[in-house]
């Protein structure tokens, strides 16, 4: 059964050297949890995420990661991730190993992880250069048609971290809207941390097919209102597009980046997210 913990307690489930997936496809990105990982000074993480964006730029720039597994790394609608680029292009603050996939391959790899399969099969990677630089991309032959199909290993994180709309008091978690690969990421992981906007007595009237993670599939839940800011939570608050634009100049320079992180992350706590939100709503 999921335990309700403070964010600081919950993030202690992340250990140095772990493979950690923080997912959220534009929507419901677990920013508050990512900041707590930075504050706790985790190192040598293998960070997994289809769309590493600002929170991964911050983790990489603060030296938490030694490897990145990803399929699209950018500041959506704005441009490059400067900390990610500097790590890859110049090895600052440390060399960052890269395992690069396509979205289809990563989505399938999470799906295979959730299904407890060792690999995923897809019609993909045809005619492209990624398999030349990523030796984990292999193939199998269909036992019926003889067709050769691409394979990728299943993703099985040590810890998956997501943000969701709400949990009930038993720890069942409801997700809705653009749900990305979050359910698969949690089900594929050994441990999981879910931050939520609120805890409710009852998840209430909902679709019989609502996307719910039962309490016993989740390790820890932390209540962090606004915890997805500057991304958004469907039904709660909108995306702070201006923050994504503001990030570009902050992240271009090592010193402005470090100063910003000190002021807004290292010297702050998760309770700040609710007030950031107040400015948005």
């Amino acid at each position: 059964m999921a335990e309700f913990l403070t964010l600081s307690q919950a993030i202690e489930t992340v250990r140095d050297g772990d493979t950690v997936a923080m997912e959220g496809f534009t929507h419901l990105i677990p920013y508050a949890a990512g900041h707590e990982v930075i504050r706790q000074g985790r190192k040598q993480l293998t960070l997994v995420r289809m769309t590493p964006d600002l929170i991964y730029d911050q983790l990489i720039g603060m030296g938490c990661a030694e490897k990145l597994v990803f399929s699209w790394g950018g500041n959506p609608g704005v441009g490059s991730l400067h900390r990610l680029r500097e790590a890859v292009e110049k090895g600052w603050p440390n060399r960052l190993e890269v395992e690069e996939h396509s979205h289809a391959a990563m989505a399938n790899a999470y799906e295979a992880g959730a299904a407890n399969l060792p690999f995923a099969v897809l019609r993909g990677y045809k005619g492209v250069d990624l398999p030349k630089v990523n030796p984990t991309i292999r193939s199998v032959t269909c036992p019926y048609t003889g067709e050769v199909l691409a394979t990728v290993p299943a993703i099985r994180p040590d810890v998956s971290i997501i943000h969701a709309q709400r949990a009930d008091r038993a720890g069942n978690v409801l997700l809705e809207g653009i749900v990305g690969v979050q359910k698969e990421a949690v089900l594929a992981a050994r441990r999981s941390v879910v931050t939520v906007e609120e805890v409710v007595d009852d998840l209430g009237p909902r679709s019989p097919n609502a996307i719910v993670l039962p309490s016993w599939t989740v390790t820890a839940i932390s209540v962090v209102p606004g915890g997805a800011y500057p991304s958004y939570a469907h039904g709660y608050y909108k995306r702070a597009n201006s923050f994504y634009q503001a990030w570009d100049p902050i992240a271009r320079d090592r010193d402005t980046f470090l100063a910003w992180m000190r002021e807004h992350v290292l010297e702050r706590g998760p309770e700040d997210f609710a007030s950031r939100l107040a400015k948005v709503a």
Binding site: V88, G127, V133, V181
Partner: protein, 263 residues
């Protein structure tokens, strides 16, 4: 009454978007990339192709955004969609499932066979510029019925040789797709700020099929990193109509206003 008069006051980006939009029909099911493709697809929906089905890789199916999204997963896309599925389902049942008629891509670099690079400039392990990566593009390029590409021309974008093939177009020319067992058409049109290019039916090398009004062949060649060919029947791109421009500008205006509100 709608104003179908050709306009003479439009930007290069506007004619690129309008020309791209015109290529979509109401019957299409279109997988939409962010940026220029998104503007073109929504312009098509708001003008001649109201029934066009737009799908974004975030899982939103048949979405009808009133303003353009800044990201592939804006709330607006979900709120106006028929339904929203998970990302694994999107890539498995919908893209790989063969249900998409047109994939609309942009890119950082393109070569004469419409292969695209959005991964790196320079060596992969020691890149000069690390680009965002492929995202959905590698499988969009082979699993959609056909591919439309839209990107502005420049010698750094239209290059003689790609440092990295992120998504497969026509490979090294005629027969390349067939050799890999790929049955879809691949890139059939490239919409730029200067002209429209299509693969030559025999060689699959891109050739200019229409020049935008006022654009010379020399200007196109200046912005292209390989000796570009022109179709025998190369003609002039019809200018955007006043109505198309009004709807496109209104869309951008609504978008600007909406996103201003989101501090």
């Amino acid at each position: 009454m709608t104003d179908q008069t050709p306009s003479t006051t439009y930007s290069a980006t506007e004619i690129m978007t309008v020309t791209a939009a015109r290529a979509l029909s109401a019957e299409d099911v279109c997988f939409v990339g962010i940026g220029a493709p998104s503007a073109a697809c929504n312009l098509a929906r708001l003008t001649h192709a109201p029934g066009v089905t737009l799908i974004y890789e975030s899982g939103t199916i048949d979405t009808k955004p009133q303003v353009l999204p800044l990201s592939i997963g804006d709330g607006e896309l979900c709120e106006t969609a028929l339904t929203t599925v998970s990302v694994p389902e999107m890539f498995r049942y919908w893209l790989q499932g063969g249900r998409i008629t047109v994939g609309f891509l942009g890119g950082a670099q393109i070569d004469r066979y419409a292969n695209l690079n959005t991964t790196v400039v320079g060596d992969y392990d020691k890149p000069k510029v690390r680009l965002p990566g492929g995202g959905g593009a590698p499988e969009i390029a082979t699993n959609c019925g056909e591919i439309f590409i839209t990107m502005a021309m420049s010698p750094r974008a239209f290059v003689d040789k790609l440092p990295f093939i992120t998504s497969f177009g026509h490979g090294t020319g005629a027969g390349s797709r067939e050799a890999l067992g790929v049955k879809t058409k691949g890139p059939t049109r490239v919409f730029t700020d200067l002209c429209v290019l299509e693969p030559h039916p025999d060689t699959k090398e891109l050739q200019v099929v229409t020049l935008h009004p006022g654009v010379t062949r020399e200007r196109v060649q200046e912005q292209c990193g390989w000796p570009v060919k022109f179709a025998d029947d190369c003609s002039e791109t019809p200018a955007p109509t006043a109505e198309e421009l009004k709807i496109l500008r209104d869309l951008h205006e609504r978008t600007k206003l909406a996103h201003q509100g989101e501090a």
